[in-house]
Structures are given as C-alpha cells and as structure tokens.
Symmetry: C2
DNA sequence: GTTTCACGTACTATTTAAAGTTACATGAAA
DNA sequence: TTTCATGTAACTTTAAATAGTACGTGAAAC
C-alpha cells in the first residue's frame, strides 16, 4: 500500500515559506518539492481557506505564512489538509451483516482508534516553531549559514 | 487513500474455518468473502507456510486451521501476511538531503513509530480464541444457533 | 493600457497498487 | 480414470492518487 506524503510535504513547504523573507511562488515551491506548481496550489488552497497562509497574485506575488509559527501545530495542518486517513488498514466491509466479521471489526477498530488518538495527540503537541527550531539546530550542527539552506 | 483490508479479511476467513468441522474450499471461502478463489489461495498460502492453516487437495479437500485458536494472535496473522504498512502516511523522501525535510521527518517518524508500537502490542494481546468467543457471544445475544451463521 | 506575472480551477491524463481472471499443472480421492 | 481441489504463473481490469494542461482572474510593472 502506497503511503500518503501530503502532510510531510505541506510541512516541508510551510517551513520553507517561514524561512523566506519574500513570498514564494508555486513554481519555487514545486521545484523544492519536485512536483508540479498546480499540485502546490491545490494543496495550499486548503491552508489558505483555513487561514494559515496567504496568496497574492501578480508581480512579487506568491505564498506567505499568515500566522506566528508558534501558533500552528501539526494537528492544525493535518486538519487543514482534510484529515486524511492515518491508518493504512480498514475493515473489509462497513456495517457487515456477518457476525464473524463484526467480531473481527470490533477488535481491529478498537486498536486503530487508540492508535489514531495517540497520533493526533502527538500532532497537537508539536508546533511549527518547534520544527523550525529543530531545523536551525540541524543547520548549526552542520555549520551552514541560513542563506544556504534553499533547494536547488 | 484506500485502506488495505487483508488483515480484516484473513481473520474473517480463519474464524469461518474454525467454526466449520470439515475443510472449506477456496470456493466456499471466496463466496463468503465475495471474492475470487484464487485470491483466497494466494492470501492463505502465506498462512500455510507459517503453519497456521493446512490445505488438502482432491475430494474432501480444502482448508483447515492447523493450531489451537488460543495459540494464534492477531499479531501472528499480521506477520504471516507480510507485515503490511500500518500507517497510511509516510515521508516524502527517504534520506532527504534537505535539512528542513529532515526536521519534519524526525517529528513525524517519532509519532508514527509510537503509534505502530501501540498497535502491534494490541495485536499481540488478542488471540483468535478471543475473537471466536466474541463471535459466539454475539450469536447468543441474537438468539442464533451455531449452524445458521454461515454465509450465503 | 498592455504586458507580464502569479494564482484559481476545471478538466484530462498518467501512474500505480490492488484485485480479479484465466489457464494449466499437481496430486488425492472416488 | 475421472472428478475435485489446491498451486501458481501470467495477464487483465479497476480504482485511487497524483500529475499535468489549459485557460481564466487579477495585480504589478513598464
């Protein structure tokens, strides 16, 4: 089963935006993420509607962070991209008539529910400011200057 | 993201086999699972190699459980079907050169690792005997006799 | 004001993983 | 020796996600 990398991708993009002091275009970001500008716009559209980023058209336009990084958690971003499934497994049938299947589903559901709750709780506890700090720490550990972190 | 239902499906099949007092053919099981006999054989092949079920050819042949249900956990079955991904999300890139991405991945990985560990621990604690008992309880609650549980 | 730039989005195409199917070989029981 | 059932390789279909194209809207530069 292929894994969804949208959350990872969006967080990546947001941190790059946070580092930049001017708006970044979809094309800039697409290059950094090795994808298509339209894909970037699509995914950032949800974040814009949720108020986490702003977009401007025309010359000098592009994407900027709309809030303090310390006020955005990974959970916020997860919600803003539409709360995609966290668990790779599901039940064969929802609302099964077969009692055997009901018993199986009940056991699996309980475990998955708990694992999801754990994950969401973790997401809630991590702010983008903390991710940015971790990034800066990694840069410092490598003796790299801030201007050099950009892709490509 | 579509969810993998193999674990749910295999557990379902195994409990049906456990209820039956004669071998069940791939065709029987396929009808119960609303799928194709070859799909059943494919998925049970792994369980046979792991020693959880037996298969017999020819007249009166089919599939039977090879061990006491109390000695098989959901974790065993999970392992036997090849330990498919539990988490629906992954990192955009393995071994990223980008430090921003490293920081993001580190945060996500930690959470996912913990959630996986929780799930596997839960799987380990549930035996097929317990699932079967739950199934029987559901039957009793509905006033259904054992012979009537069969699909189709 | 018109050209350039950048987002907005509907629509289409590609990719990819899972599932289903066919075909035929093997082996056991009737 | 016929029938039944699994074993498995090869191929086809399907469904979802992702990528890409085309064109519209609006803002800044010239």
């Amino acid at each position: 089963m292929k894994r969804d990398s949208r959350l990872s991708g969006v967080l990546h993009v947001l941190l790059h935006m946070a580092e930049a002091d001017a708006p970044l275009t979809s094309e800039n970001l697409a290059r950094a993420m090795q994808t298509n500008p339209v894909v970037i716009r699509r995914i950032l559209a949800g974040l814009r509607d949720a108020g986490f980023v702003r977009s401007e058209k025309g010359h000098g336009g592009g994407w900027t962070i709309a809030r303090d990084l310390a006020a955005i958690t990974m959970r916020d971003i997860y919600d803003a991209i539409g709360r995609p499934n966290l668990m790779a497994m599901g039940n064969r049938t929802e609302a099964p008539g077969c009692l055997v299947e009901q018993a199986v589903n009940a056991a699996l559901d309980e475990s998955f529910r708990d694992a999801e709750a754990l994950l969401l709780d973790r997401f809630e506890r991590v702010t983008l400011a903390e991710l940015a700090a971790d990034f800066h720490a990694r840069m410092a550990a490598r003796g790299i200057h801030a201007e050099e972190h950009v892709h490509g």
